[in-house]
Protein backbone atom coordinates (compact mmCIF):
# COMPACT_ATOMS: atom_id res chain seq x y z
CA UNK A 1 0.00 0.00 0.00
CA UNK A 2 1.24 3.46 -0.83
CA UNK A 3 1.33 6.37 1.60
CA UNK A 4 -1.80 7.98 0.11
CA UNK A 5 -3.72 4.73 0.50
CA UNK A 6 -2.69 4.45 4.14
CA UNK A 7 -3.88 7.98 4.78
CA UNK A 8 -7.23 7.34 3.10
CA UNK A 9 -7.58 4.17 5.13
CA UNK A 10 -6.95 6.02 8.39
CA UNK A 11 -9.54 8.64 7.45
CA UNK A 12 -12.09 5.95 6.62
CA UNK A 13 -11.58 4.16 9.94
CA UNK A 14 -11.78 7.48 11.74
CA UNK A 15 -15.09 8.29 10.04
CA UNK A 16 -16.49 4.84 10.71
CA UNK A 17 -15.59 4.85 14.40
CA UNK A 18 -16.56 8.52 14.74
CA UNK A 19 -20.02 8.34 13.15
CA UNK A 20 -21.09 5.13 14.86
CA UNK A 21 -19.28 5.94 18.09
CA UNK A 22 -20.93 9.34 18.49
CA UNK A 23 -24.43 8.31 17.42
CA UNK A 24 -25.70 7.42 20.93
CA UNK A 25 -24.26 10.72 22.22
CA UNK A 26 -25.96 12.79 19.52
CA UNK A 27 -29.28 10.97 19.46
CA UNK A 28 -31.06 9.54 22.49
CA UNK A 29 -33.66 7.98 20.26
CA UNK A 30 -33.89 4.19 20.86
CA UNK A 31 -35.02 3.68 17.31
CA UNK A 32 -31.89 5.29 15.87
CA UNK A 33 -29.75 3.18 18.16
CA UNK A 34 -31.31 -0.09 17.00
CA UNK A 35 -31.04 1.07 13.39
CA UNK A 36 -27.33 1.82 13.80
CA UNK A 37 -26.83 -1.48 15.56
CA UNK A 38 -28.48 -3.31 12.66
CA UNK A 39 -26.27 -1.49 10.17
CA UNK A 40 -22.98 -2.37 11.86
CA UNK A 41 -23.89 -6.02 12.49
CA UNK A 42 -25.18 -6.51 8.92
CA UNK A 43 -22.08 -4.64 7.76
CA UNK A 44 -19.86 -7.22 9.45
CA UNK A 45 -21.93 -10.07 8.00
CA UNK A 46 -21.68 -8.58 4.48
CA UNK A 47 -17.93 -7.91 4.72
CA UNK A 48 -17.38 -11.49 5.95
CA UNK A 49 -19.49 -12.83 3.07
CA UNK A 50 -17.52 -10.79 0.58
CA UNK A 51 -14.27 -12.43 1.71
CA UNK A 52 -15.72 -15.47 -0.06
CA UNK A 53 -17.35 -13.74 -3.01
CA UNK A 54 -15.50 -10.56 -3.97
CA UNK A 55 -12.05 -11.70 -2.84
CA UNK A 56 -11.91 -15.43 -3.48
CA UNK A 57 -14.62 -15.66 -6.14
CA UNK A 58 -16.84 -18.19 -4.34
CA UNK A 59 -20.52 -17.24 -4.51
CA UNK A 60 -22.08 -18.80 -1.43
CA UNK A 61 -25.86 -18.63 -1.32
CA UNK A 62 -25.90 -20.15 2.13
CA UNK A 63 -24.05 -17.95 4.59
CA UNK A 64 -27.36 -17.61 6.46
CA UNK A 65 -26.61 -21.10 7.74
CA UNK A 66 -23.78 -19.74 9.87
CA UNK A 67 -25.55 -16.50 10.74
CA UNK A 68 -28.42 -18.64 12.06
CA UNK A 69 -26.12 -20.91 14.02
CA UNK A 70 -24.61 -17.85 15.68
CA UNK A 71 -28.06 -16.55 16.60
CA UNK A 72 -29.47 -19.87 17.78
CA UNK A 73 -26.29 -20.63 19.74
CA UNK A 74 -27.21 -17.72 21.96
CA UNK A 75 -30.96 -18.33 21.74
CA UNK A 76 -30.92 -21.98 22.76
CA UNK A 77 -28.41 -21.45 25.58
CA UNK A 78 -30.42 -18.59 27.03
CA UNK A 79 -33.72 -20.46 26.59
CA UNK A 80 -32.58 -23.64 28.34
CA UNK A 81 -29.82 -22.50 30.69
CA UNK A 82 -30.70 -18.91 31.57
CA UNK A 83 -29.51 -15.51 30.50
CA UNK A 84 -26.13 -15.85 32.20
CA UNK A 85 -25.30 -18.13 29.27
CA UNK A 86 -25.58 -15.32 26.74
CA UNK A 87 -21.85 -14.89 26.13
CA UNK A 88 -20.97 -18.61 26.38
CA UNK A 89 -23.82 -19.15 23.90
CA UNK A 90 -22.20 -16.71 21.51
CA UNK A 91 -18.87 -18.50 21.87
CA UNK A 92 -20.58 -21.85 21.34
CA UNK A 93 -22.35 -20.59 18.22
CA UNK A 94 -19.12 -19.28 16.72
CA UNK A 95 -17.29 -22.49 17.57
CA UNK A 96 -20.08 -24.64 16.12
CA UNK A 97 -19.99 -22.56 12.93
CA UNK A 98 -16.22 -23.02 12.67
CA UNK A 99 -16.45 -26.80 13.08
CA UNK A 100 -19.39 -27.12 10.69
CA UNK A 101 -17.75 -24.89 8.06
CA UNK A 102 -14.56 -26.91 8.33
CA UNK A 103 -16.37 -30.24 7.86
CA UNK A 104 -18.79 -28.94 5.25
CA UNK A 105 -15.83 -27.46 3.38
CA UNK A 106 -14.55 -30.92 2.53
CA UNK A 107 -17.94 -31.84 1.15
CA UNK A 108 -18.89 -28.81 -0.91
CA UNK A 109 -15.57 -27.20 -1.90
CA UNK A 110 -14.88 -30.01 -4.30
CA UNK A 111 -17.12 -28.43 -6.88
CA UNK A 112 -16.80 -25.00 -8.44
CA UNK A 113 -18.98 -22.23 -9.73
CA UNK A 114 -22.71 -22.72 -9.80
CA UNK A 115 -22.51 -26.18 -8.21
CA UNK A 116 -20.85 -24.71 -5.14
CA UNK A 117 -23.55 -22.04 -5.01
CA UNK A 118 -26.37 -24.61 -5.23
CA UNK A 119 -24.83 -26.81 -2.53
CA UNK A 120 -24.47 -23.88 -0.11
CA UNK A 121 -28.10 -22.98 -0.79
CA UNK A 122 -29.18 -26.58 -0.17
CA UNK A 123 -27.41 -26.83 3.18
CA UNK A 124 -28.74 -23.45 4.26
CA UNK A 125 -32.32 -24.49 3.47
CA UNK A 126 -31.76 -27.82 5.20
CA UNK A 127 -30.81 -26.00 8.39
CA UNK A 128 -33.85 -23.76 8.00
CA UNK A 129 -36.16 -26.79 7.65
CA UNK A 130 -34.67 -28.47 10.72
CA UNK A 131 -35.06 -25.32 12.82
CA UNK A 132 -38.58 -24.77 11.49
CA UNK A 133 -39.85 -28.32 12.13
CA UNK A 134 -38.07 -29.19 15.35
CA UNK A 135 -40.65 -27.22 17.28
CA UNK A 136 -40.16 -28.57 20.81
CA UNK A 137 -36.46 -27.69 20.79
CA UNK A 138 -36.16 -24.59 18.61
CA UNK A 139 -39.62 -23.14 19.03
CA UNK A 140 -40.15 -23.53 15.29
CA UNK A 141 -41.77 -20.60 13.61
CA UNK A 142 -42.19 -18.83 16.94
CA UNK A 143 -38.43 -18.44 17.25
CA UNK A 144 -36.99 -17.71 20.67
CA UNK A 145 -38.10 -14.56 22.43
CA UNK A 146 -36.82 -12.69 25.44
CA UNK A 147 -33.11 -12.99 24.84
CA UNK A 148 -31.90 -10.31 27.23
CA UNK A 149 -28.13 -10.04 27.66
CA UNK A 150 -27.11 -10.32 31.34
CA UNK A 151 -25.90 -7.55 33.65
CA UNK A 152 -24.69 -4.32 32.15
CA UNK A 153 -24.93 -5.86 28.66
CA UNK A 154 -28.68 -5.49 29.12
CA UNK A 155 -28.24 -1.73 28.75
CA UNK A 156 -29.04 -0.90 25.13
CA UNK A 157 -26.35 1.74 24.75
CA UNK A 158 -23.68 -0.36 26.43
CA UNK A 159 -24.61 -3.34 24.28
CA UNK A 160 -24.38 -1.14 21.20
CA UNK A 161 -20.83 -0.16 22.10
CA UNK A 162 -19.91 -3.79 22.69
CA UNK A 163 -21.27 -4.62 19.21
CA UNK A 164 -19.39 -1.67 17.71
CA UNK A 165 -16.13 -2.81 19.31
CA UNK A 166 -16.64 -6.40 18.09
CA UNK A 167 -17.54 -5.23 14.57
CA UNK A 168 -14.62 -2.80 14.29
CA UNK A 169 -12.16 -5.39 15.58
CA UNK A 170 -13.53 -8.05 13.23
CA UNK A 171 -13.58 -5.80 10.17
CA UNK A 172 -10.08 -4.63 11.09
CA UNK A 173 -8.92 -8.27 11.16
CA UNK A 174 -10.61 -9.04 7.83
CA UNK A 175 -9.04 -5.92 6.34
CA UNK A 176 -5.58 -6.99 7.52
CA UNK A 177 -6.29 -10.43 6.12
CA UNK A 178 -7.17 -9.05 2.71
CA UNK A 179 -3.88 -7.09 2.61
CA UNK A 180 -1.82 -10.03 3.87
CA UNK A 181 -0.09 -12.83 1.95
CA UNK A 182 -3.10 -15.08 2.59
CA UNK A 183 -5.39 -12.39 1.16
CA UNK A 184 -3.14 -12.11 -1.89
CA UNK A 185 -3.29 -15.87 -2.47
CA UNK A 186 -7.09 -15.76 -2.14
CA UNK A 187 -7.36 -13.03 -4.78
CA UNK A 188 -5.03 -15.05 -6.98
CA UNK A 189 -7.30 -18.08 -6.51
CA UNK A 190 -10.17 -16.03 -7.97
CA UNK A 191 -8.16 -14.70 -10.91
CA UNK A 192 -6.17 -17.73 -11.97
CA UNK A 193 -6.52 -20.95 -9.95
CA UNK A 194 -4.42 -22.97 -12.39
CA UNK A 195 -1.46 -20.67 -11.81
CA UNK A 196 -1.94 -20.83 -8.03
CA UNK A 197 -1.40 -24.58 -8.24
CA UNK A 198 1.75 -23.82 -10.11
CA UNK A 199 2.95 -21.66 -7.23
CA UNK A 200 2.89 -24.88 -5.24
CA UNK A 201 -0.26 -23.80 -3.37
CA UNK A 202 -3.47 -25.78 -2.93
CA UNK A 203 -6.52 -24.02 -4.34
CA UNK A 204 -9.15 -26.04 -2.48
CA UNK A 205 -7.30 -25.82 0.83
CA UNK A 206 -7.19 -22.03 0.62
CA UNK A 207 -10.86 -21.96 -0.35
CA UNK A 208 -11.70 -24.06 2.72
CA UNK A 209 -9.66 -21.71 4.87
CA UNK A 210 -11.57 -18.61 3.79
CA UNK A 211 -14.87 -20.50 4.00
CA UNK A 212 -14.21 -21.17 7.69
CA UNK A 213 -13.08 -17.59 8.35
CA UNK A 214 -16.10 -16.09 6.59
CA UNK A 215 -18.49 -18.43 8.40
CA UNK A 216 -17.02 -17.67 11.83
CA UNK A 217 -17.69 -13.96 11.38
CA UNK A 218 -21.16 -14.64 9.98
CA UNK A 219 -21.89 -16.57 13.19
CA UNK A 220 -20.50 -13.75 15.31
CA UNK A 221 -22.83 -11.35 13.50
CA UNK A 222 -25.77 -13.71 14.17
CA UNK A 223 -24.85 -13.94 17.86
CA UNK A 224 -24.58 -10.16 18.20
CA UNK A 225 -27.91 -9.70 16.43
CA UNK A 226 -29.76 -11.94 18.92
CA UNK A 227 -28.96 -9.37 21.61
CA UNK A 228 -30.03 -6.44 19.44
CA UNK A 229 -33.44 -7.89 18.58
CA UNK A 230 -33.76 -9.75 21.92
CA UNK A 231 -34.99 -12.67 19.86
CA UNK A 232 -34.01 -15.11 17.13
CA UNK A 233 -36.20 -16.40 14.34
CA UNK A 234 -35.98 -19.14 11.70
CA UNK A 235 -35.68 -16.36 9.12
CA UNK A 236 -32.04 -16.09 10.13
CA UNK A 237 -31.47 -19.40 8.31
CA UNK A 238 -33.71 -18.63 5.34
CA UNK A 239 -32.26 -18.16 1.86
CA UNK A 240 -33.43 -14.56 1.69
CA UNK A 241 -30.95 -13.78 4.47
CA UNK A 242 -28.16 -15.22 2.35
CA UNK A 243 -29.54 -13.23 -0.56
CA UNK A 244 -29.54 -10.03 1.42
CA UNK A 245 -25.76 -10.06 2.00
CA UNK A 246 -25.29 -10.73 -1.70
CA UNK A 247 -27.42 -7.68 -2.51
CA UNK A 248 -25.53 -5.57 0.00
CA UNK A 249 -22.18 -6.60 -1.47
CA UNK A 250 -23.25 -6.01 -5.07
CA UNK A 251 -24.81 -2.67 -4.19
CA UNK A 252 -21.71 -1.46 -2.36
CA UNK A 253 -19.20 -2.99 -4.76
CA UNK A 254 -17.69 -6.45 -4.41
CA UNK A 255 -14.21 -5.48 -5.49
CA UNK A 256 -13.88 -2.79 -2.82
CA UNK A 257 -13.18 -4.06 0.66
CA UNK A 258 -15.56 -1.63 2.37
CA UNK A 259 -18.18 -1.84 -0.40
CA UNK A 260 -20.36 -4.44 1.36
CA UNK A 261 -20.37 -2.40 4.57
CA UNK A 262 -21.62 0.68 2.69
CA UNK A 263 -24.09 -1.54 0.85
CA UNK A 264 -25.42 -2.88 4.14
CA UNK A 265 -25.94 0.64 5.46
CA UNK A 266 -27.76 1.70 2.28
CA UNK A 267 -30.06 -1.34 2.19
CA UNK A 268 -30.97 -1.00 5.86
CA UNK A 269 -31.68 2.72 5.46
CA UNK A 270 -33.76 2.19 2.31
CA UNK A 271 -35.71 -0.64 3.97
CA UNK A 272 -36.43 1.68 6.86
CA UNK A 273 -37.23 4.88 5.01
CA UNK A 274 -39.18 3.34 2.13
CA UNK A 275 -40.66 0.63 4.35
CA UNK A 276 -42.29 3.23 6.60
CA UNK A 277 -44.10 4.73 3.57
CA UNK A 278 -45.12 1.75 1.49
CA UNK A 279 -45.43 -1.97 1.92
CA UNK A 280 -44.01 -2.35 -1.58
CA UNK A 281 -40.47 -1.53 -0.43
CA UNK A 282 -39.01 -4.81 -1.78
CA UNK A 283 -40.06 -3.53 -5.21
CA UNK A 284 -37.94 -0.41 -4.70
CA UNK A 285 -34.96 -2.50 -3.61
CA UNK A 286 -35.49 -4.73 -6.65
CA UNK A 287 -35.56 -1.79 -9.05
CA UNK A 288 -32.51 -0.29 -7.37
CA UNK A 289 -30.59 -3.55 -7.69
CA UNK A 290 -31.56 -3.88 -11.36
CA UNK A 291 -30.32 -0.37 -12.03
CA UNK A 292 -27.09 -1.03 -10.15
CA UNK A 293 -26.28 -4.30 -11.87
CA UNK A 294 -27.16 -3.03 -15.36
CA UNK A 295 -25.76 0.50 -15.17
CA UNK A 296 -23.27 0.59 -12.29
CA UNK A 297 -21.81 -2.89 -11.95
CA UNK A 298 -18.87 -1.66 -9.88
CA UNK A 299 -21.21 -0.84 -7.00
CA UNK A 300 -21.54 2.45 -5.13
CA UNK A 301 -17.98 2.49 -3.78
CA UNK A 302 -16.48 1.15 -7.00
CA UNK A 303 -18.27 3.72 -9.18
CA UNK A 304 -17.27 6.47 -6.78
CA UNK A 305 -13.60 5.46 -7.04
CA UNK A 306 -13.98 5.37 -10.82
CA UNK A 307 -15.45 8.88 -10.92
CA UNK A 308 -12.67 10.16 -8.71
CA UNK A 309 -9.98 8.57 -10.86
CA UNK A 310 -11.59 10.06 -13.98
CA UNK A 311 -11.78 13.48 -12.38
CA UNK A 312 -8.14 13.34 -11.29
CA UNK A 313 -7.13 12.29 -14.78
CA UNK A 314 -9.02 15.23 -16.29
CA UNK A 315 -7.37 17.63 -13.86
CA UNK A 316 -4.04 16.16 -14.83
CA UNK A 317 -4.82 16.60 -18.53
CA UNK A 318 -5.87 20.22 -17.96
CA UNK A 319 -2.66 20.90 -16.06
CA UNK A 320 -0.63 19.34 -18.87
CA UNK A 321 -2.31 21.47 -21.52
CA UNK A 322 -1.66 24.46 -19.28
Amino acid sequence: MTGADTKKEVIFWGLLAGIFGLLPVVSHNDYHLIMANHIIVWGLFAVAFNMLFGITGMLSFGQALFYGIGGYGVGLMVKYLGKAWFLPGMAAGVLAAAVLAYLLGFLIIRVSGVFFTILTLAFGQLAWQVTFRWYHVTGGDDGIQGIIPPGILGNKVFYYYVCLACVLASVWYLRSLSNSPLGLILRCVRQNPARVRFLGRHVRRNQRRVYVISSVFAALAGGLMSGVDNSVHTNMFYWTTSGEVILMSVLGGIHQFFGPFIGAALIKIIEDVVGSRTEFWPLIIGLLMMTMVLAFPRGVVGEFQMLKARWQWRALERARRG
Partner: protein
Protein backbone atom coordinates in the same frame (compact mmCIF):
# COMPACT_ATOMS: atom_id res chain seq x y z
CA UNK B 1 27.17 -35.91 -13.56
CA UNK B 2 23.61 -36.90 -12.76
CA UNK B 3 21.03 -35.57 -15.22
CA UNK B 4 18.58 -32.95 -13.97
CA UNK B 5 15.64 -34.48 -15.81
CA UNK B 6 15.22 -37.95 -17.26
CA UNK B 7 12.35 -39.21 -19.39
CA UNK B 8 12.23 -42.99 -19.81
CA UNK B 9 9.90 -44.43 -22.45
CA UNK B 10 7.12 -41.98 -21.74
CA UNK B 11 3.83 -42.70 -23.52
CA UNK B 12 0.54 -40.86 -23.62
CA UNK B 13 -2.48 -41.31 -25.85
CA UNK B 14 -5.71 -39.35 -26.13
CA UNK B 15 -8.07 -42.02 -27.39
CA UNK B 16 -6.39 -43.51 -30.43
CA UNK B 17 -4.02 -40.59 -30.89
CA UNK B 18 -0.51 -41.11 -29.58
CA UNK B 19 0.59 -37.68 -28.38
CA UNK B 20 3.73 -38.91 -26.65
CA UNK B 21 5.24 -41.93 -28.31
CA UNK B 22 7.95 -43.68 -26.32
CA UNK B 23 9.95 -40.56 -25.61
CA UNK B 24 13.27 -40.88 -23.76
CA UNK B 25 15.92 -38.24 -23.17
CA UNK B 26 18.04 -36.69 -20.42
CA UNK B 27 18.61 -33.04 -19.65
CA UNK B 28 21.92 -32.22 -17.95
CA UNK B 29 22.17 -29.63 -15.15
CA UNK B 30 22.85 -26.13 -16.41
CA UNK B 31 21.89 -27.01 -19.96
CA UNK B 32 19.84 -24.71 -22.16
CA UNK B 33 17.90 -26.69 -24.71
CA UNK B 34 15.06 -26.31 -27.16
CA UNK B 35 12.20 -28.55 -28.18
CA UNK B 36 11.00 -27.97 -31.71
CA UNK B 37 8.49 -29.63 -33.95
CA UNK B 38 5.44 -28.88 -36.06
CA UNK B 39 2.12 -27.90 -34.45
CA UNK B 40 0.53 -30.90 -32.81
CA UNK B 41 3.86 -32.71 -32.37
CA UNK B 42 3.18 -33.02 -28.63
CA UNK B 43 5.57 -30.40 -27.27
CA UNK B 44 3.23 -28.75 -24.80
CA UNK B 45 1.80 -32.16 -23.86
CA UNK B 46 5.31 -33.21 -22.93
CA UNK B 47 5.63 -30.15 -20.66
CA UNK B 48 2.26 -31.00 -19.12
CA UNK B 49 3.48 -34.49 -18.32
CA UNK B 50 6.69 -33.17 -16.76
CA UNK B 51 4.80 -30.69 -14.57
CA UNK B 52 2.07 -33.09 -13.48
CA UNK B 53 -0.82 -31.52 -15.39
CA UNK B 54 -1.08 -34.82 -17.25
CA UNK B 55 -0.01 -38.28 -16.12
CA UNK B 56 1.79 -40.44 -18.70
CA UNK B 57 0.13 -43.77 -19.57
CA UNK B 58 3.47 -45.50 -19.07
CA UNK B 59 7.13 -44.71 -18.60
CA UNK B 60 8.97 -42.77 -15.90
CA UNK B 61 9.99 -39.17 -15.35
CA UNK B 62 12.83 -38.44 -12.92
CA UNK B 63 13.69 -34.97 -11.62
CA UNK B 64 16.96 -34.53 -9.72
CA UNK B 65 17.23 -38.33 -9.51
CA UNK B 66 13.79 -38.85 -7.98
CA UNK B 67 10.73 -40.17 -9.71
CA UNK B 68 7.99 -37.56 -10.16
CA UNK B 69 5.67 -39.51 -12.48
CA UNK B 70 2.07 -39.04 -11.36
CA UNK B 71 2.84 -36.55 -8.58
CA UNK B 72 0.63 -33.50 -8.16
CA UNK B 73 1.74 -30.26 -9.78
CA UNK B 74 2.14 -28.67 -6.33
CA UNK B 75 4.67 -31.33 -5.26
CA UNK B 76 6.65 -31.10 -8.48
CA UNK B 77 6.79 -27.32 -8.16
CA UNK B 78 7.95 -27.64 -4.55
CA UNK B 79 10.90 -29.71 -5.77
CA UNK B 80 12.12 -26.86 -7.96
CA UNK B 81 10.31 -27.10 -11.29
CA UNK B 82 9.26 -23.74 -12.76
CA UNK B 83 7.17 -23.04 -15.81
CA UNK B 84 5.94 -20.12 -17.88
CA UNK B 85 2.96 -20.71 -20.10
CA UNK B 86 2.25 -20.48 -23.83
CA UNK B 87 -0.91 -18.53 -23.12
CA UNK B 88 0.26 -15.97 -20.60
CA UNK B 89 -0.80 -17.03 -17.13
CA UNK B 90 -0.61 -14.18 -14.64
CA UNK B 91 -2.88 -12.57 -12.03
CA UNK B 92 -4.32 -9.72 -14.12
CA UNK B 93 -5.82 -7.53 -11.39
CA UNK B 94 -2.82 -7.64 -9.07
CA UNK B 95 0.10 -5.29 -9.48
CA UNK B 96 3.17 -6.40 -11.39
CA UNK B 97 5.02 -6.44 -8.07
CA UNK B 98 2.44 -8.62 -6.35
CA UNK B 99 2.43 -11.09 -9.23
CA UNK B 100 6.08 -11.87 -8.53
CA UNK B 101 5.84 -11.29 -4.78
CA UNK B 102 3.15 -13.94 -4.38
CA UNK B 103 5.54 -16.45 -5.90
CA UNK B 104 8.36 -15.35 -3.55
CA UNK B 105 6.02 -15.57 -0.56
CA UNK B 106 4.96 -19.01 -1.68
CA UNK B 107 8.54 -20.24 -1.88
CA UNK B 108 9.28 -18.83 1.59
CA UNK B 109 6.21 -20.65 2.94
CA UNK B 110 4.59 -17.39 4.08
CA UNK B 111 1.29 -17.55 2.24
CA UNK B 112 -0.65 -18.56 5.34
CA UNK B 113 0.28 -15.39 7.21
CA UNK B 114 -2.86 -13.35 7.64
CA UNK B 115 -2.11 -10.39 9.92
CA UNK B 116 0.64 -8.27 8.44
CA UNK B 117 0.35 -6.53 5.11
CA UNK B 118 2.33 -8.03 2.20
CA UNK B 119 4.56 -4.95 2.09
CA UNK B 120 5.98 -5.89 5.49
CA UNK B 121 7.43 -9.14 4.18
CA UNK B 122 10.75 -7.62 3.25
CA UNK B 123 12.60 -10.69 2.03
CA UNK B 124 9.90 -11.55 -0.51
CA UNK B 125 9.53 -7.90 -1.51
CA UNK B 126 13.25 -7.38 -2.10
CA UNK B 127 13.51 -10.58 -4.07
CA UNK B 128 10.50 -9.61 -6.19
CA UNK B 129 12.06 -6.23 -6.97
CA UNK B 130 15.35 -7.92 -7.91
CA UNK B 131 13.53 -10.21 -10.34
CA UNK B 132 11.59 -7.30 -11.86
CA UNK B 133 14.89 -5.46 -12.25
CA UNK B 134 16.39 -8.40 -14.18
CA UNK B 135 13.33 -8.49 -16.41
CA UNK B 136 13.33 -4.72 -16.94
CA UNK B 137 9.84 -4.41 -15.42
CA UNK B 138 10.80 -2.53 -12.27
CA UNK B 139 9.42 0.80 -13.52
CA UNK B 140 6.01 -0.79 -13.94
CA UNK B 141 5.99 -2.52 -10.54
CA UNK B 142 2.91 -0.69 -9.21
CA UNK B 143 0.73 -1.05 -12.32
CA UNK B 144 -1.98 -3.69 -12.51
CA UNK B 145 -0.68 -6.55 -14.64
CA UNK B 146 -3.51 -6.36 -17.20
CA UNK B 147 -2.26 -2.91 -18.26
CA UNK B 148 1.09 -4.28 -19.48
CA UNK B 149 1.87 -4.77 -23.15
CA UNK B 150 1.61 -8.33 -24.42
CA UNK B 151 5.37 -8.86 -24.50
CA UNK B 152 5.79 -7.53 -20.96
CA UNK B 153 3.04 -9.84 -19.74
CA UNK B 154 4.99 -12.78 -21.14
CA UNK B 155 8.05 -11.56 -19.26
CA UNK B 156 6.01 -11.21 -16.11
CA UNK B 157 4.86 -14.81 -16.51
CA UNK B 158 8.55 -15.80 -16.48
CA UNK B 159 9.02 -13.52 -13.46
CA UNK B 160 6.31 -15.40 -11.55
CA UNK B 161 8.13 -18.65 -12.30
CA UNK B 162 11.49 -17.17 -11.19
CA UNK B 163 9.98 -16.10 -7.87
CA UNK B 164 9.88 -19.76 -6.92
CA UNK B 165 13.67 -20.00 -7.42
CA UNK B 166 13.35 -23.02 -9.69
CA UNK B 167 16.27 -25.33 -10.47
CA UNK B 168 14.70 -26.04 -13.81
CA UNK B 169 12.59 -23.71 -15.92
CA UNK B 170 10.29 -24.71 -18.77
CA UNK B 171 9.32 -21.92 -21.18
CA UNK B 172 6.53 -22.54 -23.64
CA UNK B 173 7.14 -20.35 -26.71
CA UNK B 174 8.68 -17.35 -24.99
CA UNK B 175 8.69 -15.28 -28.20
CA UNK B 176 5.27 -16.24 -29.57
CA UNK B 177 3.28 -13.28 -30.86
CA UNK B 178 6.22 -10.87 -30.64
CA UNK B 179 7.62 -8.53 -33.26
CA UNK B 180 11.09 -9.34 -34.66
CA UNK B 181 12.60 -6.62 -32.44
CA UNK B 182 10.89 -7.88 -29.32
CA UNK B 183 11.93 -11.39 -30.22
CA UNK B 184 15.55 -10.39 -30.39
CA UNK B 185 15.34 -8.73 -26.96
CA UNK B 186 13.55 -11.71 -25.43
CA UNK B 187 16.14 -14.07 -26.84
CA UNK B 188 18.94 -12.13 -25.18
CA UNK B 189 16.92 -11.90 -21.98
CA UNK B 190 16.27 -15.64 -21.80
CA UNK B 191 19.96 -16.27 -22.27
CA UNK B 192 20.85 -13.77 -19.55
CA UNK B 193 18.28 -15.19 -17.09
CA UNK B 194 19.61 -18.67 -17.75
CA UNK B 195 23.08 -17.57 -16.62
CA UNK B 196 21.98 -15.17 -13.87
CA UNK B 197 19.71 -17.66 -12.11
CA UNK B 198 21.84 -20.80 -12.79
CA UNK B 199 18.91 -22.48 -14.48
CA UNK B 200 18.51 -25.68 -16.37
CA UNK B 201 16.32 -24.27 -19.08
CA UNK B 202 14.13 -26.03 -21.63
CA UNK B 203 12.09 -24.01 -24.09
CA UNK B 204 9.59 -24.79 -26.81
CA UNK B 205 9.98 -22.44 -29.77
CA UNK B 206 9.00 -22.00 -33.39
CA UNK B 207 11.37 -19.12 -34.09
CA UNK B 208 14.47 -20.78 -35.53
CA UNK B 209 16.73 -17.77 -34.90
CA UNK B 210 15.99 -18.15 -31.21
CA UNK B 211 16.39 -21.93 -31.25
CA UNK B 212 19.69 -22.00 -33.09
CA UNK B 213 20.86 -18.79 -31.46
CA UNK B 214 20.81 -19.85 -27.82
CA UNK B 215 20.15 -23.60 -27.43
CA UNK B 216 23.04 -25.94 -26.66
CA UNK B 217 20.91 -28.97 -27.39
CA UNK B 218 17.93 -29.22 -29.74
CA UNK B 219 15.33 -31.99 -29.59
CA UNK B 220 12.89 -32.50 -32.44
CA UNK B 221 9.46 -33.97 -31.84
CA UNK B 222 7.22 -35.27 -34.59
CA UNK B 223 3.85 -36.90 -34.03
CA UNK B 224 4.74 -37.50 -30.41
CA UNK B 225 8.00 -39.22 -31.28
CA UNK B 226 11.52 -37.93 -30.57
CA UNK B 227 12.84 -37.64 -34.10
CA UNK B 228 16.31 -36.32 -33.35
CA UNK B 229 18.45 -34.91 -30.58
CA UNK B 230 21.76 -33.10 -30.85
CA UNK B 231 23.68 -29.85 -31.07
CA UNK B 232 22.26 -27.14 -33.34
CA UNK B 233 24.79 -28.07 -36.03
CA UNK B 234 23.89 -31.76 -35.88
CA UNK B 235 20.18 -30.95 -36.11
CA UNK B 236 20.67 -28.56 -39.00
CA UNK B 237 22.45 -31.23 -41.02
CA UNK B 238 20.23 -34.16 -40.00
CA UNK B 239 18.56 -35.37 -43.23
CA UNK B 240 15.54 -36.78 -41.40
CA UNK B 241 14.86 -33.49 -39.68
CA UNK B 242 15.29 -31.57 -42.91
CA UNK B 243 12.71 -33.66 -44.76
CA UNK B 244 10.31 -33.88 -41.85
CA UNK B 245 10.32 -30.42 -40.49
CA UNK B 246 12.87 -27.83 -41.39
CA UNK B 247 12.33 -28.32 -45.08
CA UNK B 248 14.02 -26.02 -47.50
CA UNK B 249 14.30 -23.26 -44.98
CA UNK B 250 17.65 -24.50 -43.71
CA UNK B 251 18.70 -26.99 -46.37
Amino acid sequence: MEPMLVLENVNKAFGGLKVTDNVSFSVMPGEISAIIGPNGAGKTTLFNEITGHLTPDSGRILFKGQEITGLHTQEIVARGMGRAFQITSIFPEETVLDNVRVACLSRLGQTRRSLRSVGNFSQATEQAFAILESLGLKDQAQRPAFELAHGDQKLLDIGVALGLEPKMLLLDEPTAGMSPDERHLTRELVKRLWKEFNLTLVFIEHDMDTVFGIAQVVRVLQQGRLLAEGTPDQIRSNPEVITAYLGEELA
